[in-house]
């Protein structure tokens, strides 16, 4: 049974989602209405999946994700955002979130996403894939002095990510590129992992430059 925690400042929504998850046989170990509660309760209950709204009272969703990543927890973060502020979604994913869904996604899509994230997979909407593609392009076009050691996508990864952004399912991508479903999944996940790693290296570099590394 997957252990999930739901973070959202809207009680109606929080309870609705929690009920859906429980009815589907998942265990909702905790809920929280703001960033501070979220971090404390994750530490106390160690859920497998944290269903996180980005727009919550401080610290916001991006910061919560960053803090959990810094602590090296196993909890996977699945961002569930209503407004879909693109930069926030990208920042959350760079900070370590495993996926993103819009709140209007159907109950089935939500349950699938939670299960997938719990299995260690990444959940990409076409919108998120477009953002990640854009971010890699930005990194590749930035002057090397600004972005040293910027990660690059392999040709295959670019190909796969473009197909995700064009709305193909992993199964359809596997068919089109004559790959296994698992390989497609790995490529998608790699694109995120490299971006997150780069983000962490950048943060550490920044901290050392500012003498904050103690």
């Amino acid at each position: 049974m997957v252990r999930v925690m739901v973070v959202d400042d809207h009680p109606l929504w929080r309870e609705g989602v929690a009920r859906d998850l429980t009815e589907a046989g998942l265990e909702v170990v905790a809920t929280a209405a703001n960033g501070t509660e979220a971090i404390n309760r994750v530490l106390a209950t160690r859920p497998e999946v944290l269903l996180l709204d980005l727009n919550i009272p401080a610290p916001d969703g991006v910061e919560v994700t960053a803090q959990l990543t810094r602590r090296g927890l196993d909890t996977k973060v699945l961002v569930l955002s209503a407004s879909g502020e693109q930069q926030d979604v990208l920042d959350a994913v760079k900070a370590g979130a495993s996926g993103y869904l819009v709140k209007s996604a159907s109950r089935e899509a939500l349950l699938d996403a939670v299960q997938a994230v719990a299995r260690g997979e990444s959940v990409f909407t076409p919108g998120l894939a477009g953002l990640v593609l854009g971010e890699y392009r930005r990194l590749s076009e930035a002057p090397p002095a600004d972005e040293p050691d910027a990660p690059r996508l392999t040709e295959r990864e670019t190909e796969v990510l473009r197909l995700v952004a064009k709305g193909l399912t992993y199964k359809q991508i596997a068919e089109r590129l004559v790959l296994s479903h698992r390989t497609v999944q790995n490529h998608v996940q790699n694109t995120l992992r490299k971006l997150q790693l780069h983000n962490r290296v950048e943060l550490v570099r920044y901290a050392i430059e500012r003498g904050l590394d103690e």
Partner: protein, 386 residues
């Protein structure tokens, strides 16, 4: 005291600080001039006493001009004391000195009170003070000569200049504070709007989900909620990008495409704006809409469309895909040969006009997929657009 009044007062404070320095400098000058000629005076002892009064009053009035005492009566009293000291010249000087228009006992020191009036009451106040001081000066002279006229002229100029500057600086300080306040209020409104919008989006999303689950009429409500949710979301996203648009001749293609999002149309764009000349954006948008129209024509209004925007260094690629039956090989060519210039032709034509191309991607039976490629070099003005 509110921030506007305080800003205006800060301007005044600076002026009075400068005038305090001026008062000290002119005082030293007056003492020096009189020390050099005290033996010429008709009443030297009285002259020294009066110079003493001038020194003491300078100290007192400097203290009185501090913000906490600075009231209109201070200006009036300062003027009266200055006039008294000025007029006493008549008693101290010999008639010859008065006729020759040598320095008065107070010399340039009288200018300070005139400029204080100018700061306080603007050009009018400065000119009034000039008139008072000069009439007291001139009426004790037996004649008027060119140096008297010159002195009057210089004092009029100084009074007008200082009066005008003080007024202008006060106005600009007040405007700056008001602009800052307006900006702060706009930011706060923006923050509140975000919270409200987020709440509305949450509820719309919830209605949509629950409606679909319940079915029937509720499903219809859910569908309507879903449409409004998307409309509001693209509005918010477009506003977030608004900040980066400036010139009227360029537009953000990403924002234009985001606005096409519907429950059946998914749009993926980079987070950075993709600035292109407006007419290019319009043409690309028209081509994308033609692709979507084609999808609806063959697959009905419920057919899904996925749009992806990629901005590379030298070109922009917009992919438009649907999961319909696709276009059988050779059909477009056949249609063209038969003289039917359909949707495909309009799409290709638009892109050709932009110096780009519209490519029908081989999807191995996975629907119909267009790639609209716009090279940036051949688009006029695009080099500076990104």
């Amino acid at each position: 005291m509110d921030r506007v009044t305080r800003a205006a007062q800060q301007v005044d404070d600076q002026f009075y600080r400068v005038l305090t320095v001026l008062r000290a400098v002119t005082l030293v000058y007056a003492v020096g001039v009189n020390a050099a000629r005290w033996r010429d005076f008709e009443h030297p002892v009285t002259a020294w006493v009066l110079i003493g009064v001038m020194v003491v009053w300078s100290g007192i009035v400097t203290w009185l001009y501090e913000p906490r005492h600075r009231a209109s009566w201070v200006f009036v009293v300062d003027m009266l004391v200055t006039l008294a000291l000025l007029r006493s010249t008549q008693y101290v000087h010999t008639p010859e000195m008065l006729a020759e228009h040598t320095f008065t006992l107070t010399t340039y020191w009288v200018t300070t009170v005139v400029l204080c009036w100018a700061v306080r009451w603007g050009v009018t106040g400065g000119l009034l003070a000039t008139a008072i001081v000069q009439s007291v000066d001139v009426t004790m002279r037996p004649t008027v000569n060119s140096s008297t006229v010159g002195n009057i002229f210089l004092m009029v100029l100084a009074a007008m200049l200082v009066g005008y500057c003080a007024h202008a600086l006060r106005v600009s300080a007040v405007r700056r504070v008001e602009a800052e306040r307006a900006a702060a209020m706009a930011t706060e409104r923006e923050r509140l709007a975000r919270a409200v919008h987020d709440g509305v989006l949450q509820v719309l999303a919830l209605v949509q989900r629950r409606g679909n689950e319940i079915g029937g009429e509720a499903a219809e409500l859910g569908r309507l909620a879903g449409e409004q949710e998307l409309a509001l979301r693209s509005l918010i996203q477009s506003r977030a990008r608004d900040e980066s648009t400036g010139d009227g001749a360029v537009a953000d293609l990403g924002r234009a495409l985001d606005a096409l999002a519907e429950p059946t149309v998914s749009v993926a764009t980079p987070s950075r704006p993709v600035m292109l000349p407006s007419e290019v954006v319009e043409e690309v948008l028209a081509a994308v809409l033609a692709c979507r129209a084609n999808t609806v024509l063959h697959g009905g209004p419920d057919a899904s469309t996925w749009i992806l925007l990629e901005a590379e260094r030298d070109r922009v690629v917009v992919s438009v895909r649907d999961d319909g039956p696709g276009i059988p090989e050779g059909r477009l060519e056949r249609a063209e040969a038969e003289g039917r210039l359909g949707v495909a032709n309009s799409i290709r034509g638009r892109l050709r006009d932009l110096g780009g191309e519209a490519v029908l991607v081989d999807t191995a039976g996975q629907g119909c997929e267009w790639e609209l490629v716009v090279p940036l070099k051949r688009v006029p003005g695009a080099a500076s657009a990104r």
